[in-house]
Symmetry: C2
Subunit: 324 residues, 2 copies
């Protein structure tokens, strides 16, 4: 029931995904059973191809996430997290209330031990092919330097295991290339990242480098990442509106990427765009499978247990310098 | 001598501007006199059309601004500010060291009384014509809520008197439209701006609205503004590289806007892009004339002496809420 065009576009996407996924994969639809059965039949689909878990309630887009999550045990989001926690499903994806998806991720399947804050991520296409991983894209509008440090690790693991980028180049998004450029947050994060053995930190990058090969992982606070992402989306829409068709700009279409996984939690959760159409939902489902099969959560847990964070933090100051 | 292509492109721009400006306007070239004379002659221009003020030193792009400004009294930037302070020139524009231009603005011509921090601004084209004023674009990477509040006023006066936008709609750039969305800085700034009689505050806008009619003035900290601006520039360059020509995207060309004025100081100063070519320099000179003739500094001084800032600040908290 998530997203602006539920349940029609959600089911359309599920039907598309079911056709493309191997028979060993099973899509579990969580929502009002009668509606799902009726719609699937209307769409000419075989209901038996799906598992259906009845959920009588819906968490609306405007509802307060924590309250809704706890007070609506029969909502599709709450039920999804119950199934995920029990291991009855391998991944959970929804285009519904983002906040409720986060609350479920943090309080139901829990944050990986050692991770300060889970992060959401999205990808930006590169002019020469491939993608860059942008982390965080909105979950942490106010991030501390040590949180940005961890984003480098999360993004690095994600880029490597889901997009097959070996030894991903991790850049810190700032407003100048030199170490002393940027806001106080960036300056502090740079000092933590500099020379880290945990990932391949290449220094600051500027937003003019978002679409080139300079960095594979672009680290920023969630406020900045969300601004970048929505500006790229706006530009893509303007280009389409002008009737311009170009392979690179077409790759900016969010539908192709399916959604933003939440990294740093003990399971696989993908949040879809509220305006998702059938293609976007299909790709959201396929992405959730890829993230699960790549073992991203497990790899993050393993990396965080071994990484040198504590060592670095003892040697360098973790404090943000005093603001003027 | 400022910018990556000085002195050739600077002089090329000056020649272009001189042709377009009325005879009553006089362009003063500040730099090594011999070089200027020689180059102008080479370019087939009449040296007598310009005033030349000899400056034997240059502040390099990588130099520490304050140090360079004080230790190089014969640099073109230092000399320019001396002329500006004495009223021998009406406006000063340079594509040189941005930091040194700021230092000169703050310590030579001084900040308008009541202004907490001067700001740099740039314009973004709107799909339906016209422009939006983005403020700040890099001068204040870490801004406090009361500084953002003033940016609303500075941007509003600039949009009205230079771009002729009556009662400009001032939006706060955030990552959601609701008051409680965004980072702590935005949330605090929103509370200060809400209901202000000083300008027409319309609430939060998102980066997807940068190019539409939602807001005429877009307020943000300098870190965010710089990220937005350079991303827009990157997108423009990609579009050009693809050979796409479109009236809207062509209006994203920084050359057309000439530079970013520093608002909130007691004179007119415009900073040009380091990569400025002749057209950009021409437009930088024309913009500096427009900003001067619109009396932007005086109008800001007048507005700040009357505005309700202090009243609002007594009623509402000025503190950023504690970070988590």
């Amino acid at each position: 029931m998530g997203g602006d065009f539920a349940p029609d576009k959600i089911l359309e996407g599920a039907i598309l995904a079911q056709k493309e996924l191997p028979d060993s994969d099973r899509i579990v639809l969580i929502g009002p059973e009668e509606v799902i059965r009726e719609k699937l039949t209307q769409m000419g689909s075989d209901v038996s191809l799906f598992d259906i878990v009845h959920a009588s309630e819906v968490i609306g887009m405007g509802e307060q996430p924590t309250k809704a999550f706890t007070q609506k045990p029969n909502s599709s989001i709450t039920k999804g997290f119950k199934l995920l926690k029990k291991g009855l499903i391998d991944s959970f994806a929804s285009a519904g209330n983002t906040g409720a998806m986060l609350v479920g991720s943090i309080y139901s399947v829990n944050v990986v031990q050692g991770i300060i804050r889970p992060a959401t991520t999205s990808v930006l296409p590169k002019v020469n092919g491939g993608v860059g991983v942008l982390i965080d894209v909105g979950t942490n509008p106010d991030s501390k330097p040590d949180v940005l440090y961890q984003f480098g690790l999360l993004g690095s693991i994600y880029a490597q295991h889901v997009y097959g980028i070996e030894n991903p180049k991790v850049g810190l998004l700032s407003i100048g290339e030199e170490e002393e450029k940027g806001n106080l947050l960036c300056q502090s994060a740079f000092r933590l990242m500099k020379g880290t053995p945990d990932y391949n930190f290449i220094g600051n990058i500027e937003s003019r480098d978002l679409f080139n090969d300079k960095a594979d992982v672009i680290v920023c606070d969630g406020f900045t990442g969300n601004i970048v992402l929505k500006q790229a989306e706006a530009m893509y829409r303007l280009i389409k509106k002008k009737g311009i068709s170009d392979p690179f700009f077409d790759r900016m279409n969010y539908e192709n990427y399916g959604g933003t996984p939440i990294l740093g939690i003990n399971s696989t959760v993908v949040i879809g765009h509220g305006i998702s159409n059938g293609t976007a939902i299909k790709n959201m489902l396929k992405l959730s499978k890829e993230v699960h099969e790549a073992g991203v959560s497990e790899k993050i847990a393993q990396a965080i247990s071994q990484y040198t964070h504590s060592k670095i933090f003892n040697e360098k100051s973790t404090d943000t310098p005093q603001d003027q």
